[in-house]
Symmetry: C2
Subunit: 120 residues, 2 copies
DNA sequence: ACAACATATGAACAACTATTCATAAGTATA
DNA sequence: TATACTTATGAATAGTTGTTCATATGTTGT
């Protein structure tokens, strides 16, 4: 009997079965890849990446972000919500004002990584 | 006269002018951020990230990718075109078969980076 | 030249997304 | 509590995007 793990895929039209089998066995779990796509979705919109880029400098309140990006308060607020739900940013309230900041260092690293790729 | 660089932003509603000024002065160019968003767009779709993840293991032909991902040949082909236009992958032809592979190491690094963020 | 096979591409459609507009919710101060 | 101010949110809309279907292009062998 075989000691190999059984990898499932439709054999239909496969040309190099060994390559497919190997690649699939080395793949991260399907769910991880979905989460990964969701993570990168946050960086795939100009408004959101501009917000994140601003927050690398310092924490900022909604009004300041809005002015800095020359956008609508509503648009910024909507995007902040998305970023917060993805746990990339966090917020703290001081009276009427809500300050947003990066949730951890990863955002910095990912953006730096991307910039490196582009400006090489 | 002032020796500072003049940063433009609508003063409307600004609360902490110094913070806005500082953040804006540290920002990458507008165009760079747009390119960055475009780069991450490639990783923000499950099909595309699954393709990239497969290609980390080895170069693969369209038929094999199609089978491995249990998708349509057309869908894969369309996404391969997008990835190629973004210069994340390259292709070589051997007869009827076209093999795709990662264009450079950055893809690996970016995916690894993302996985690290998720699985921490 | 023809048949068989691998890949690419254009058009159409459904699903998703970002913005706007109007308004609500939360907070401070008079 | 009335007002002004900051932020959040729901609905509507316009624009974008991924997949499918049909078909074209390119390649090999007969």
């Amino acid at each position: 009997m075989k000691s190999e793990i059984d990898i499932e895929f439709s054999n239909e039209g496969v040309i190099h079965e060994d390559v497919v089998r190997k690649a699939l066995s080395e793949q991260p779990a399907e769910e991880l890849l979905a989460d990964l796509a969701d993570l990168f979705k946050n960086f795939s919109d100009t408004t959101r990446i501009r917000i994140l880029s601003l927050l690398i400098s310092d924490e900022m309140c909604v009004a300041d972000i809005t002015a800095a990006l020359n956008a609508t308060q509503s648009a910024i607020s909507h995007q902040l919500r998305i970023l917060k739900q993805s746990r990339l940013i966090k917020s703290r309230r001081a009276g009427k004002i809500v300050y947003y900041s990066l949730a951890d260092e990863h955002v910095k690293t990912i953006i730096a990584m991307g910039l490196e790729h582009i400006t090489e």
